[in-house]
């Protein structure tokens, strides 16, 4: 759960917000808080995962520091959001390790996975460094080993996130039942609205224009870079899924032609995953520190870096698959993807899960 000091500060802040309400039409955080009169840890978690940290409400706040009330909603919600990622992680110890030092944990995981893959590939050492033009991936890492490894890790990540998500959802429902709520909207409608909001990043330009980056500067870049990242990720997933179907259903084996569906989708997605994470990382450099430090031990950066590396090694593999470096490149690419999968339940990736759940709750209430 969130720590007591944070809950106390959150309560103080949100109580002032609830008596003011000037920010009501910036984003769902405010209508959601207006439905509550008291704010417990669950409410804070809920509101924190509705917040995009755009900063409009800080710049508009008549009580922002140095005012004696010292209201800074983006900062307190950023802290709550980070704490909620750790609090709902399963198993807790892994979440803990990742949250306290994302960079070191990831590096350790990467080292272990690379060594493991190298060991596997040593079964046929000649394939690892062969310049054989056939681009025979399965000569380096046998198909069965790949399927076993990725299957196991994906399954683990899915289970971990399912557990985290259901705990998060259970607590959302335990939050203060709004006084005027009545019955919640049907789940199907809430789900549809939530998914629509998430896929369009509606609340990053919910007021009709883009949200601020700094005071009066409203730029669309954060939204576009996020779109690149998210849709790039989806395209890569689609590419992998189609390739798996090709392999297991039709018996068509990799490597696939440049004009094939897996390669086209993968290349487009890979491009998005190069541009998006780079852009988001660059935007972080110019971000107003007053909006809070969302990074705990580099949570955000590590996720962006893994996405970027996944794409970089994947695209390099595509171009150099007939060269002598194919073997090591394949090992590296697979390792990065495996570690990415392994860290999904503990890193910034979970924001997507929690935000959609929070949005479902939001649309249910409103």
């Amino acid at each position: 759960m969130l720590n007591d000091d944070l809950v106390r500060r959150g309560r103080q802040t949100l109580t002032v917000c609830n008596a003011c309400r000037y920010c009501e039409q910036y984003c769902p955080v405010f209508p959601a808080l207006e439905r509550r009169r008291t704010f417990d840890a669950e409410d804070l978690t809920y509101l924190a995962n509705l917040c995009h940290n755009c900063g409009e409400c800080l710049y508009a706040c008549q009580f922002a520091p140095p005012h004696e009330f010292g209201i800074n909603v983006p900062m307190v919600l950023a802290e709550a959001r980070t704490q909620s990622y750790e609090a709902y992680a399963w198993p807790f110890a892994l979440g803990r390790a990742f949250a306290s030092s994302a960079f070191r944990t990831t590096l350790a995981a990467l080292t272990i996975v690379v060594s493991m893959l190298v060991l596997v590939s040593l079964a046929s050492p000649e394939a690892l460094w062969s310049s054989d033009a056939s681009a025979n991936f399965y000569g380096v890492i046998p198909h069965a080993a790949m399927v076993t490894l990725f299957g196991a890790v994906s399954l683990f990540a899915l289970i971990a996130m399912a557990i985290s998500g259901s705990r998060f959802w259970r607590d959302l429902r335990r939050g203060d039942v709004p006084s005027s709520a009545g019955a919640l909207a049907p789940a199907s409608i809430s789900l549809r609205s939530a998914v629509r909001d998430a896929f369009t990043l509606r609340h990053l330009h919910g007021t009709g224009r883009d949200c601020t980056s700094n005071l009066e500067v409203r730029l669309p870049w954060r939204r576009w870079f996020h779109h690149c990242t998210f849709y790039g990720f989806l395209l890569c997933m689609a590419s992998t899924t189609i390739a798996a179907i090709y392999h297991s259903v039709f018996g068509w084996h990799a490597p696939y032609a440049y004009s094939s569906l897996p390669v086209l989708l993968g290349a487009a997605g890979g491009f998005g995953l190069l541009v998006g994470p780079l852009g988001l990382a660059a935007l972080r450099q110019t971000r107003d520190p007053a909006l809070g430090h969302e990074e705990n031990g580099g949570l955000d950066t590590v996720f962006l870096a893994l996405l970027f590396l996944t794409s970089l090694t994947g695209l390099a593999l595509l171009v150099l698959r007939h060269g002598a470096v194919m073997g090591p490149l394949l090992v590296l690419h697979l390792a990065v993807v495996l570690v990415l999968l392994l860290t999904l339940p503990y890193g910034k990736f979970v924001h997507g899960l929690y935000r959609v759940l929070a949005l479902i709750r939001y649309h249910g209430e409103h």
């Binding site: 109580t15 710049y59 004696e68």
Partner: protein, 464 residues
Amino acid sequence: MTQKPEYDVAVIGGGNAALCAAITARRAGARVIVLERAPRDFRGGNSRHTRNFRCLHTTPGEYLTGVYGEDEFLSDLHSVNGGAIDDTLARLAIGQSANCPEWMAREGVRFQAALHGTLQLGRTNLFFLGGGKALMNSYYASAERLGIDVLYDADVVGLHLAGDRFESVDVAWDRRVRPIHAASVVIASGGFEANLDWLHEVWGDAADNFIVRGTPYNTGVPLKRMLEAGAQSVGEPHECHAIAVDARAPKFDGGIVTRLDCIPLGIVVNSLGQRFYDEGEDVWPKRYAIWGKLIARQPGQIAYSIVDAKSANAFMPSVYPPIVANSIPELARQLTVPSGTLQSTVDAFNRAVRPGTLNLGGLDDCRTEGLTPEKTHWAQRLDTSPFWAYPLRPGITFTYLGLKVDERTRVMMSDGHPAANVYAAGEVMAGNVLLRGYLAGFGMTIGTVFGRIAGEEAARHAER
């Protein structure tokens, strides 16, 4: 003067009226300096705490419902004032308010639909997205783009006039006092509500218990200097916009969140445990602004709003927790109000409540009979524990004593002639159109309309 002054227009103040004047003057080609007394973080005067703008409109708009015509607007203004105001200026403010939103939007201001819980204002008042500070941020950003010099922490300590002609202003800035010359000056520095000494002169010891809802920087120095220089005053020194705020509010700058909306739902007693005014006289928005002065006349300038469990969730949540007790004597002890008197006040009230159908959305038939004073609407027995109380103090918003101006916002001198190059806008001249009551959002109308006129006039004067 032989030498051309460094600025065409000096604007004293940094709130809505000041920025409207500065931007208009700059767009007319003038070289403009804004002298804002507050540091950058607290810029914007009382406009920081505002949220809407009362606005004439003959067709429904994107954010305004229905229509709000000139006659209705003027009659609303007359009804809160209950006396003669300058109808020429009032009609000017009302008429010009119609074309303000378009101008504001061009300067980057964004709007929103009426806030939840203030829907009754959705027809008459246009709300700023994010409130008054967001509005001021837009204006300052626009000023920056236009090349207006903005001096923060600039304390105007002296105004120099030769007869009715402004020459320069003395500004204390960065530990030095320096003169700034300009061809004309716009005074948009607000009232004197944050000047505790001046309030004390007007209200006596009662002033010590006032809470200043807005900026601590409105001490009325430019106003005083102009009056000393022979400007004609308008309005009474004790007239002001003052509401009931939570007694636990900070002395300055507590803004919107310290107000309490529970008064019509229960009873209000003074420190003697006695009621003193009809809590249900009219719908709350219309009576919101009289309670400050009512409490200012009570002993110790303190009062307590008391509701019972039935009403606990029927009003906007407050930033301070209620004082809670399971019985009236226990509540009296916590409030340090005579327990016997409070009990008999509540008993007498409960006995006088006539049956009716409660309707918080309008004037209902829940009233008392045979009580002094009566409660004429929303009277329900206080009989369900726990009982909640909120301590109340007068919360002064702004004062009405100001500079008399003509329809070109020229400051009138006591000989009946306008000053040659001195213009006034905003709170500092609000007394021309506000005698005693207050109409929500009208302060921003005054600031925007007269600020724009003052900027235009000051720039035109400087051209000559």
